[in-house]
Symmetry: C2
Subunit: 330 residues, 2 copies
C-alpha cells in the first residue's frame, strides 16, 4: 500500500462496476476516479447512466461517494472511500443544445470530449481522414464549458482539433487518457506538438494503460512504461502528467464493438486495430490493486517522492481544484 | 416597503418572466419565489425550461439568483436579489422513471405535485370523477422524494390523493397554492379535513391569489381575503400558512388553454370554469409590488408582528430549511 499521504487519482475508467471492482479501488488506495458516463448516448440516455451511478452511491455508500470538487477527494480519503467524478467521451450528450453544458455540469459532469473517434458537431476525431478543426458550434461550446467549469478532454480528437481547442480555450484543457505517439505511434496517441501546447497552457495528460496505447501492447513492460513517463516529464514538465488508465475491467467484448460502431455504422468501424476485443492488461496493471506497483516503478526512475506524489495524484488534484468551478471562482 | 427584517416568500408563480416582472419582485421586497418549470412537459422538455432559467440567471444576475437551500434566501436578501426555487406542477417530468426524482432534485427542483388536474401515474387530480388515491408507483415515488428532499405538493390533487399522500409521506408535505373550500368552494380549494391533516403533520399551505380560487373572484376584497387567512390560522395554526400566489403575470390566454388541455385532449378539458382566459387580478394584488398591501392588511387583523412575519415568509423559510436536504440531514 502507498503511504496514506499519497493521493492516487485515475482520470479515466469505464469498468463494469460491481462491489468487487469498487472494492479493488479501495485495495489499491485509489482516492478518486473519473468515470465515463457517455460514449454515444444522447442526453436522456446519459441521464440514465447517471441514475445508475446514483444507485451505486446508495448501494455502495461505504466504498464510494460522488465527486464534484477537489475538496470531495479529501472527504473521500478521510472516510476511506473513492470519490467518483463523471465525464463524457463524446459531445453526443449535449445534442445540438448549448444549454445542456450547464445542465450536465449541475448533474456533476466535469469532463467532456470535444469528439469521440468521429467528426462531431464540435470538431474531429482521431480516426477521420480529414480534421477541419473546431466548428462554429465548437467555439461556442468551448466558451460555455470554460464559463461553467466543464473541462475539455481531447483524448480521442484529431491533431488539428487538439491544437485548436488548446488555443481557443481560455482555461487549461485535458487529455485524460492517451500516451505520446513518440513512444507508440497509433492514432489515439498524441504528438509532441500537442503535448507541449497542452502543458504550455497549464493542461494535463493522463497516461493510458490500455494495451493498444502501450508500446508492445499487453506485453509492454513496467520499465518501458515508466521510462516513457520519465521522458514525458522531461519534455513537458512533471506538473502536467498523471494517470488515466482507460481501465475497462469486466466488460464483455461487445462493449468494444459498441464503442467503435455506436449507431453511426452498421458495423463498418474499421480502425485498423483488428477484432473488437478487450486485450489482456499488462501483468503489472491488472486492475486498480496494482497502483502501488506503478508507484514503486516511478520511484525507481529517479523522481523525488514529491514528484512521484504529483504524478500519482497531486497534479490531477490541483487541476480539479482549478477547473471545476465557474470562471473566476476557483 | 416592508421593514428590511420581514422576509417575503411566494411559493408559486408562473409569470412570463422579463426584466420588468423580475424588477417588480424587487420593488415588492420579495426575497424568494417558487416558480413552476413543468405543467405537462416530459423530462427533456422540463430540462429545456431549466435552461431558460439558467439564461435568466446569467442575464438578470443583479435581480435573481438560484435558490437551492433556505440559506440561499439569506444570501439573496443580503445582496438585494430574489432567490428562485424550481417546482413541478405535474409528475410528467419524471416520466415512468423513479431515478429522475434524484436527477431533478440535483438540478434544483424542490417541489413536485403528485398530480396536475388529471389522474397521473402517482395519484388523482382534483377534476377526476373518481380518485383512487396513491398508486403503486406513487408510494415508491413518495418514499424517494422523502429520501432526497423533494417536497410533495398537493395543490391540484383530489381529496383522497391528498389525504393518502399526507399519511404516507414520512416528511411534511405542502399545498403551495390553494385556499380553504370552506371560504370558496371550488374543486381546486381544499377541505378542512385535508388542511387539518396537512398541518398536523407539519405541512404548509400557501394561500392562492388566483381569482378563480378567491371568494368573489377578481372582485374579492382584501378584507375578505385577510379574514379568511385569520380564520385559517385559528383552524390549523399560524405556523402552517404562507402565500403561493399562482401569479401568472404577462401570460397570453393561450397558456391557460394549454394548462387545461395539455396534450391529453384535443380541446375537451371542460372543467366548468368557462372560457380559458386569465381573469383580472384583484385590485389589491396586481403583481409582486403589492405584497406590502397584504402585509398591512394582515397587520390589521389582530396578528402580532411576529405572526405577520411568519405568514409573509418565516414559515416557508422554516419549511424550506427542513425539507430540501436528504432525510436525516436537515
Amino acid at each position: 500500500m502507498p503511504e496514506p499521504s499519497t493521493l492516487i487519482i485515475d482520470a479515466c475508467q469505464y469498468c463494469n462496476w460491481s462491489e468487487e471492482i469498487l472494492g479493488q479501488l479501495r485495495a489499491g488506495g485509489v482516492d478518486a476516479i473519473h468515470v465515463t458516463v457517455c460514449y454515444h448516448e444522447d442526453f436522456r440516455e446519459t441521464v440514465e447512466n447517471l441514475i445508475d451511478w446514483n444507485r451505486y452511491f446508495e448501494t455502495y455508500a461505504s466504498l464510494i461517494m460522488p465527486g464534484r470538487t477537489a475538496a470531495d477527494i479529501d472527504a473521500a480519503k478521510a472516510s476511506g472511500r473513492t470519490a467518483v467524478f463523471f465525464g463524457l467521451q463524446n459531445c453526443s450528450a449535449i445534442e445540438d443544445d448549448i444549454g445542456l453544458v450547464e445542465i450536465l455540469h449541475t448533474l456533476g459532469v466535469r469532463f467532456m470530449q470535444i469528439t469521440y473517434n468521429n467528426q462531431s458537431l464540435l470538431g474531429s476525431g482521431c480516426y477521420e481522414p480529414v480534421d477541419a478543426g473546431i466548428s462554429r458550434m465548437g467555439k461556442e461550446v468551448i466558451a460555455e464549458m470554460n464559463r461553467v467549469g466543464l473541462v475539455i478532454d481531447l483524448s480521442h480528437s484529431g491533431e488539428r482539433t487538439c491544437l485548436e481547442s488548446i488555443d481557443i480555450s481560455a482555461r487549461p484543457v485535458s487529455i485524460t487518457h492517451a500516451n505520446p505517439s513518440s513512444w507508440h505511434k497509433v492514432a489515439r496517441n498524441k504528438s509532441d506538438e500537442v503535448l507541449k501546447a497542452l502543458a504550455a497552457r497549464g493542461g494535463m495528460l493522463g497516461f493510458s494503460l490500455y494495451p493498444l496505447h502501450l508500446a508492445g501492447g499487453s506485453a509492454c513492460t513496467l520499465q518501458s512504461f515508466t521510462a516513457m513517463v520519465a521522458e514525458t516529464a522531461t519534455k513537458i514538465g512533471v506538473d502536467h502528467i498523471g494517470f488515466g488508465s482507460d481501465l475497462c475491467q469486466g466488460q464483455p467484448d461487445s462493449v468494444v464493438e459498441w464503442m467503435r460502431n455506436g449507431r453511426w455504422t452498421k458495423g463498418g468501424a474499421n480502425i485498423g486495430l483488428g477484432k473488437a476485443v478487450f486485450p489482456p492488461q499488462p501483468s503489472w496493471f491488472r486492475d486498480n490493486r496494482d497502483y502501488p506497483l506503478i508507484r514503486d516503478g516511478l520511484a525507481g526512475r529517479g523522481f523525488t517522492t514529491a514528484e512521484v506524489d504529483k504524478i500519482m495524484g497531486r497534479n490531477w488534484y490541483r487541476f480539479f481544484a482549478e477547473s471545476f468551478g465557474p470562471t473566476g471562482k476557483h
